[in-house]
Amino acid sequence: MCKICWILIFFFDTVVASAQYPGYSLLTNTSTFKEKFSNASQKTNSIQSDFTQEKNLSMLSEKIVSKGKFWFKKESQVRMEYDQPFKYLMILSNGKVYIKDAQKENTVSATSNKLFKQINNIIIDCMKGSAMNNPDFTSQVFEGPQSYLVELTPVPKSLKDFFQHINITVDKKDYSASAIEMLEPGGDNTIIHFSNKQLNSTLPDALFTIH
């Protein structure tokens, strides 16, 4: 009897998980994926790509779309340059965050600001392939025809206040992140899609220099 219960629980869990992400099914054995994801990330020293960011405000049925360019360089340097529909530059480097908006430029310590610290860690963990090793998150992996979906669920309350889940879409071709989706507790989400990716191109240090 108990065996039947476990089978039913497993069956319904799988159905719910699949319904959650249409086209994806839960990967019960993630060791092969983890190994390939980690190996690919170890070989990736830099990423250069375009990005499209969608902020979906569910209750307002509104979407704010912005576009720009993205650069990542190991170990932990990130540059995001928004150019549509507004200009905005963010550089994460050596524990500092540099921001230039329409009016001002500002440098803050990534550790002194909780929000920037989280953004810093999430983006870098996604690019380095270390997101699944972060003790602040539990993870599940789902497999689709073209990609994997890594669902990260925050453990500490400080993170739960910001995110319900963070989902990373990993391209099956090269095991690099092709999208990061941040789902908020209220139902809103932000998705960053990466396109025209160039892996391991030479990126000048000046891109990440914070004056």
Binding site: E62, I99, D101, K104
Partner: protein, 205 residues
């Protein structure tokens, strides 16, 4: 004694109302309704400067099907700072606010600022018109003080807005492009402490 008189004069001058020199006139109090903004999912590039701190992001203002208005402020990278709802029936509601901003003084100040911009408490009982040389001040009593909408003599142009105590303006605001009902630029400046909000409309493509 001479100094005491001089100081008393200065104190009296600083206490007198800046609206006292204006005179009450009759007119069409409803003429300012044509400047009332209509926000149908309008997004603004936004900067906030408060006591030496600078914040930027996007503000989305939308009138909902139930005729309430939602004001959502997010960072450029998508993190939400606050989500407020303004409704004539159910009042003001905080749907979300980040912990760092979750203080009564902050939400009250922002509520009053956006209510001024949205011309929320107009029309209102006890409203009146003041004339100051070439400008007309359309006054609407609030819980404390007044909201003023300042126009030219023919009420064809909205020159500015003020949130005031009984004596003087505590907040000044401008709204450019109000004649088209969707403002292009909104500026809010607090007079009694260093706090400014600037909004510049982002065109939808």
């Amino acid at each position: 004694m001479r100094y005491l008189l001089f100081i008393s004069f200065i104190v009296l001058c600083s206490c007198s109302s800046e609206y006292r020199k204006m005179r009450k006139v009759s007119g069409d109090i409803g003429c300012i309704q044509k400047f009332k903004p209509v926000f149908q999912g309008t997004t603004y590039r936004t900067t906030v400067d408060v006591i030496g701190k600078h914040l930027s992001g996007l503000v989305l203002i939308k009138v909902m099907p139930d005729s309430s208005t939602r004001v959502v402020f997010t960072s450029e990278i998508g993190f939400k700072f606050f989500d407020f709802g303004f409704s004539r029936d159910s009042g003001f509601k905080v749907y979300y606010i980040i912990q760092q901003m979750d203080k009564q003084a902050v939400t009250t100040t922002l509520r009053k600022d956006f209510e001024l911009i949205m011309m929320y408490h107009t029309p209102a009982k006890g409203s009146f018109i003041l004339k100051d040389v070439e400008k007309y001040y359309y006054g609407f009593p609030q819980e404390k003080g007044y909201n003023f909408y300042i126009t030219d003599s023919s009420c064809s142009q909205l020159i500015g807005m003020q949130r005031s105590s009984k004596r003087k303006a505590v907040v000044e605001a401008i709204m450019l492009g109000a004649d088209k009902n969707i403002p292009d630029t909104i500026g809010i400046t607090h007079k009694n402490f260093n706090f400014t909000i600037g909004l510049k409309r982002i065109e939808k493509k």
